[in-house]
């Protein structure tokens, strides 16, 4: 049975909710099934038993980056149309790692920090706070929605050939280009934000404090886990010192 455009649109819209039932047993397996259902219903509309078997396959454990879940669901549905069920199961297992890694590298590690730093810096240089938050939100989601559209289309077109497409993917190239830019923006935002947060009577102590801060920032860069703990210690020490003195 031919899959209609409206089935593809329905499945794509469902990718926004793919993590709705995230759990430790199937991870986003149930979510992938939720996304795939409009396609599986159409593909197996005249064979209820085959549909039941396909839905059961779609409910097995799965994990990938949520924005690339549409790529996985679309490619799996395409493979369901043309290949043996054993191939579907092997393909499903093969997709998990690459789609998770690529999405994490591009979206969580680079695109989100980039947009957040641009929004923060605009505010620090005087833009209205609501506008700055809107710049972050709109800019981020232009990339987000585009990635979902591209991923779904690519998955549907490539099917079993998705591995080759991912090998030549631009995703890791973009992530690599954003990396130094993000380093620079986060470095720039640090002192500007600290100065804005602490407008007050530091006087002559401000510059020595900035030098100590810079040294600690480098320490946290080298040992990020220590840095995370230190941030908590500094915050917790404020009420403690206030109470003790």
């Amino acid at each position: 049975m031919t899959v209609r455009r409206r089935d593809l649109v329905a499945a794509w819209l469902r990718t926004f909710a793919v993590q709705g039932s995230w759990n430790y047993r199937t991870l986003i397996g149930t979510g992938i099934s939720f996304v795939s259902l409009p396609l599986l219903r159409r593909i197996y509309s005249d064979d209820p038993e085959a549909r039941r078997a396909a839905v059961e396959r779609s409910l097995t454990p799965f994990n990938c980056h949520p924005y690339l879940s549409g790529m996985a669901a679309a490619a799996l549905a395409r493979v369901e149309m043309n290949e043996h069920p054993d191939t579907v199961e092997r393909f499903r297992v093969a997709l998990r790692g690459p789609l998770g890694r690529l999405g994490d590298q591009l979206v969580w590690a680079e695109w989100r920090p980039f947009c957040a730093m641009v929004g923060s810096l605009l505010f620090l240089f005087g833009l209205d706070p609501l506008l700055s938050a809107a710049v972050f939100l709109v800019g981020y989601n232009l990339g987000h929605v585009w990635l979902r559209v591209w991923g779904f289309r690519t998955g549907w077109d490539a099917g079993l050939q998705l591995g080759k497409v991912l090998q030549d993917s631009w995703l890791s190239v973009v992530a690599g280009k954003l990396r130094p830019v993000n380093q620079l923006l986060i470095g720039l935002a640090g002192p500007l934000l600290a100065a804005r947060l602490t407008t007050g009577p530091l006087g002559a102590a401000a510059w020595p404090l900035m030098i100590v801060g810079g040294s600690l920032a480098l320490y946290a860069y080298r040992w990020p886990t220590h840095g995370r703990r230190l941030a908590g210690v500094f915050l917790l020490s404020i009420p403690l010192i206030w109470w003790l003195t």
């Binding site: 709705g20 409910l59 939100l137 986060i186 080298r222 500094f234 404020i238």
Partner: protein
């Protein structure tokens, strides 16, 4: 001693609770559009309380602190959305004028993000019980859809409960922090601690964004540029 005026009625509380539900949903379940990021959640919460700038400032610091974590797979990570709503609204409600409420709001935001992370873990366990095994579900696709949506509703309720429970106590804490006497030395210490928190958070966040590549020259270049701009009086 002047008592701080905190203007938060049932209308504001309800708006914050709804925002909390939305940020909890957005964080994982739907639609992951980053409304749940501190920059947005705290700004909106500050706006509800009449000071979006206070919300944004608080959110920017929490954003930097949360950038150390990424929602990778089954790992437990702090959940910043509802926590930022509570922190941003509490800081804005306290007037956002002195370092006391700022320190209290950042500490609350950081601590509640940990609580949020635990509640996400708990919900993931609950979801396991909401979903029967796949052989049972496979023949009933409508039930898959219904249970999936139910799990999302539970997620929204979780966020609403977090914000509903902690907003008023958080506002009281930030309000109280403006009442107590702050000696100059205590103020100086609080400022120092906040500056150092931002410093270590930015260092660790940059390392996270470096994703295994040594990018510290760029990071330090950015920090030096920031210091030069401050020295020249450009920026905040």
């Amino acid at each position: 001693m002047p008592v701080p005026e905190i203007v938060a009625g049932p209308g504001e509380w309800l708006a914050l609770v709804l925002l909390g539900a939305l940020t909890a949903l957005d964080s994982v379940s739907w639609p992951q559009a980053m409304i749940s990021r501190p920059l947005v959640a705290a700004t909106l919460a500050g706006w509800i309380m009449g000071s979006p700038a206070a919300g944004f400032l608080c959110g920017a610091a929490l954003e930097l602190m949360d950038m150390l974590h990424a929602p990778y797979g089954a790992a437990r990570y702090p959940e910043p959305g509802p926590a930022s709503v509570v922190a941003g609204s509490a800081y804005a409600a306290a007037g956002a004028t002195t370092v006391g409420p700022l320190a209290a709001a950042l500490l609350l935001g950081w601590a509640l993000a940990q609580v949020g992370g635990w509640s996400v873990q708990l919900q993931r366990r609950v979801n396991e019980h909401l979903l029967p095994d796949r052989t049972n579900l496979a023949s009933r696709p409508r039930e898959i859809e219904a249970r999936h949506v139910l799990a999302m509703l539970v997620d929204g309720v979780r966020g609403a409960l977090l914000v509903g429970s902690f907003t008023v106590p958080a506002m009281l804490i930030t309000g109280l922090s403006t009442l107590g006497e702050w000696e100059p030395a205590q103020t100086a210490y609080a400022i120092t601690a906040i500056v150092l928190t931002v410093a270590v958070a930015s260092g660790a966040a940059a390392r996270r964004a470096a994703h295994g590549v040594q990018g510290w020259p760029y990071f330090m270049g950015g920090a030096l540029l920031g210091l030069v701009l401050l020295w020249l009086g450009i920026g905040p």
